[in-house]
Subunit: 361 residues, 4 copies
Amino acid sequence: MTPLSAGTGPGASRLSVAVLGATGAVGQTFVRLLDRHPWFRIAEVAASERSAGRSYGDAVHWLEGTLPPQTAALEVLPCDPAAIRSRIVFSALDASAAADVEPLFAAAGAYVFSNAKSHRMEPDVPLVTAEVNASHLDILVAQRERRGWSGAIITNANCSAIGAILPLCALHRAFGLSRVFIFTMQAVSGAGYPGVASLDILGNVIPHIAGEEPKIEQELGKMLGRIVGDRIESATFGVSAHANRVPVEHGHTVCMSVGLENSASAGDCAQVLAEWTGDEAARGLPSSPERPIILDSRSDRPQPRRDIGAGNGMTVTVGRVRPDPLLDVRLVAVSHNTVRGAAGASLLNAELLAARGVFAS
Amino acid sequence: MTPLSAGTGPGASRLSVAVLGATGAVGQTFVRLLDRHPWFRIAEVAASERSAGRSYGDAVHWLEGTLPPQTAALEVLPCDPAAIRSRIVFSALDASAAADVEPLFAAAGAYVFSNAKSHRMEPDVPLVTAEVNASHLDILVAQRERRGWSGAIITNANCSAIGAILPLCALHRAFGLSRVFIFTMQAVSGAGYPGVASLDILGNVIPHIAGEEPKIEQELGKMLGRIVGDRIESATFGVSAHANRVPVEHGHTVCMSVGLENSASAGDCAQVLAEWTGDEAARGLPSSPERPIILDSRSDRPQPRRDIGAGNGMTVTVGRVRPDPLLDVRLVAVSHNTVRGAAGASLLNAELLAARGVFAS
Amino acid sequence: MTPLSAGTGPGASRLSVAVLGATGAVGQTFVRLLDRHPWFRIAEVAASERSAGRSYGDAVHWLEGTLPPQTAALEVLPCDPAAIRSRIVFSALDASAAADVEPLFAAAGAYVFSNAKSHRMEPDVPLVTAEVNASHLDILVAQRERRGWSGAIITNANCSAIGAILPLCALHRAFGLSRVFIFTMQAVSGAGYPGVASLDILGNVIPHIAGEEPKIEQELGKMLGRIVGDRIESATFGVSAHANRVPVEHGHTVCMSVGLENSASAGDCAQVLAEWTGDEAARGLPSSPERPIILDSRSDRPQPRRDIGAGNGMTVTVGRVRPDPLLDVRLVAVSHNTVRGAAGASLLNAELLAARGVFAS
Amino acid sequence: MTPLSAGTGPGASRLSVAVLGATGAVGQTFVRLLDRHPWFRIAEVAASERSAGRSYGDAVHWLEGTLPPQTAALEVLPCDPAAIRSRIVFSALDASAAADVEPLFAAAGAYVFSNAKSHRMEPDVPLVTAEVNASHLDILVAQRERRGWSGAIITNANCSAIGAILPLCALHRAFGLSRVFIFTMQAVSGAGYPGVASLDILGNVIPHIAGEEPKIEQELGKMLGRIVGDRIESATFGVSAHANRVPVEHGHTVCMSVGLENSASAGDCAQVLAEWTGDEAARGLPSSPERPIILDSRSDRPQPRRDIGAGNGMTVTVGRVRPDPLLDVRLVAVSHNTVRGAAGASLLNAELLAARGVFAS
């Protein structure tokens, strides 16, 4: 049975999945995106001890849109492999919990799709943005063997890094990256809920997000790296990141100044960005956007409030591609941080594995 | 009679000044800052034809605080040298008007302190931030001679460039700048009134401000340049600027990645910034802040809403001085865009000239 | 041919409509709502002289989502009956233009669905919210006869009045209204584009909207009135309105204290609101929401940012139904001001007439 | 020794005061307002166990302006009468802590100026807004006697109630209140820190503040009541309150529809409001504003962001005084919620007692 045929019929044959950390902001995004998913069906939700035992509808402070009624009725389970039966596990756990909990699930046979930073930089853990480095999933063989796991951990990158990596990958494949200055203006939803205090951010900018800059600087290189033996080696271009919080609900904006190995004009870069479709493996999946990148030529775009909906939140909108006085090219990218930058990216990774037939037995 | 003694007594001996473009956002800031100024007294306000003939209080949509009653009672004059008697003229005119009007005033004998971009890059027009390049005022001799003016034009830089130049000057004097990447997050008041539509900026970022990036890229070099013969030559370091509008009322935030000619650690840079006091000529004037730069070591500062009041709006607050992975040092600077970045900078320039005795006869 | 059958096929048989004032904020909402409408097809767009002759895509500063490509390609026509062929005309004109222009179209045979205040309170002009007073459309016979028009003018109410009238109608039908205190917190999109200056509204409240309070106070009574002979007579309950602008993009929030003729408990009122479905004539139309009112029992709802999407923007969400210490009941209602409160209301009115067969020949 | 003479000299003779709950938002406002106070000197700060033992500068997340260095150096004490020596105690404790802790201090001899709701409605506890009901402090004799306290508890009202009571008192003294509808739009700082999550309030309205409406409805009557024997009896006019949270940093806006016992025109009401100076006892104290009410006749005022600074945050700005279609008069009032509505009100109450000579040793 292929995953595609799993989508046939009234849903009975969809694959059961669990969401860990289901009551938080990213967990809720998983719940929204999985509602009426053709291949997957939320069978289980799990959260902290405080919520366990209550119905999901009671335990969650639902933030956006309508809570799907079937999920609302589910009992919240503890984040414990003994309590969860699904083999496909989406994790929206904080790094503090994810560090210990996710390996337990992987050891118990689950494929854990993690949004936490905890395992991202381990050399046998794939850090995957589907259109960029789907092939890094091949490292799972080594991961399972070395760790003796019947399951696995697959991570996706920091929300800002995902918004940047799609256009950077397009340029890297075409011209080779040498160095990148990245400056982010990040939405408050990136800090979860309750997250940023309104007294801190209303009419203000906070020019610091704890731990964010090193994540961006490390993760971009790993996603553009390659498998060497039983480990992923990062690409070697340099990155300098400045992370800022701005009073925006959803949508991260990144400005980038990019140096290339093979010099190219802004016009050439724009053309590459306009035409890029990403890895073939990532196309045509249920969560794949029609285009991973849209190039918007209007002088004042992209903008987070107006552009994060592109491709159902999975498309990165790029604009202002222009020459850089000190490097090769400058540009701006906007992405939906809780969809493209978190839950949607995990989901697409799970679809990649499903399309490979990993969950088929 | 020295300007300092001009401040003695009940104000009768203060120097008469005029404000052009007095009803706009920057014009209003001039009016606020000049209220109870010890050396200057607003004798005349001028604005567009639409307002001329009405009282200032009737013509202005006053934006902040209390409109000083004496100024409210003044009749709004046309922006015409024939109608204005003051020899000291503060101009908050838009570039479209400033290009033609300011030279007419200079020709008629006025010292015009301009906030418009129109004349900033002309080689015999000083572009002055008092603590940085007060000595550039010496070019006025050449300017007046060449142009046959009995007055002069003195400009101050773009609001973002002023916020950046103070810390950059400190680093330049100590280590020499080689290249600078600048990312701005600019307040809406920088666009004047009515300026940015709320439908465009509420909960949003606009990653573009028309004409702003070239201004920043050119003006920083000019302010750090030097007089060679009868012209100012710009310093030659490179600048790449990204300008963004964010939903903040007042206060521009700039993130910078800085390369130095003589490499220095972030610690050394921080020390230089903490100790910098700027050009001696700019100290002790009525609008001089106690310190042109304050270094704030808290991890999440500076922030526009909380830090623009430092030094009555004339101090730039700097923070997050840390190593840059690709260059030498990264940092963040916040400044009050309509005070330090506009009207206050002009006022300080006029005080520099007053202290030199230029208006003493 | 019934309007319903008009929707069959690839759109060729849909009725041609025109949008006046198509480049403004409400005009754009018409364009979005009419895209893929089953009965209507935008054949013509018209705007001020400044835009006329350009393509719609060039003339419009598009604010939200994606501009439908076919409409983008239309030439912008002048707002002149001689230039427009459609018999169904949606008007998003400002009151200043609508006062003169709309009657010209009606005289020339068009059914004009107007969002302007200009004609709302004329006794032979129906002021219709479809679920409330569809029967007021009967006055059109008198209107056409008296004015000698082959077309007609149909108006919808002020955006705040529409959000209030749906719950008020439910209570009026059940218990009779005696008096209502209404306090609004209105989104900036209600002021059009560019509308409210960001310097005025960021982090602020403006406790005044020009002309808004009298509109609310008059229009509610007219919508709950009845036809007497050749005129509509208003219902006679009293209304006191306080109108405020708040920094919200879309969505008007109204708090109401309601006195009833036949006293009822808050519980009774809540039940009436929960069950109300409105006039049968307004159900099952293309723009009809599944329910005109949703009652949300959560203590902190409704909220504009989270609830305006209900029923594709056509449902009013009501909450906090509780006893009033001085009258009978207090409650809060949130509605989408440019959809339910403007373009969507007009569209629903046109669908009402279409369902009556008015456009059938 | 009079309190006035206490202000003489370099501060050595100022009265020592303590602040309970000093690290919270209102606690910080006390610290700011007490810096350089002529009569009082912060000798002690106290907070929760978590902070006790650290320096105040380390324990506090300072929100606004500059932390006074002497206070920063103070050790944070526990909120325990055994640990605090000051007889004048300003309490910014939450109601949960205040209920038990404040009586302990009063029993131990301290005059506790409380911002919590815990004791406000007890009949022998004065609920004082200095300009309105300073004479209610006379109840302290009965309070101390009945409770056997050597100290006392003096409360001030809910932040919204204080903004409303000043104009309402003016009208009540002139015409008698019969009923009042109050609609509030409250700033986020009213919820303390971290308080309202930015994800909840950015670009949004929350039409509910837990417990707020009953507080407003009860406290207004008590402040306008009178002492009868050993208890304060509330005035008997009716109040209906709607409380809303809006995305404003500081400043509560209240709209009111007011019914009077002796009918008066809006013009008469405006004149009363313009001329009202409040209780003589509250004038000329260190925290007294020049005027407790300013009447602003501009059509779009008062506004929180622009008007909360009036009278150093102690003046209520009133505007839009106009006829009400259902009652007598409508108006809008804006006040600074953490100054006038909290810490400043307590301070003024303490100054009232000091001026009576209560602390004169």
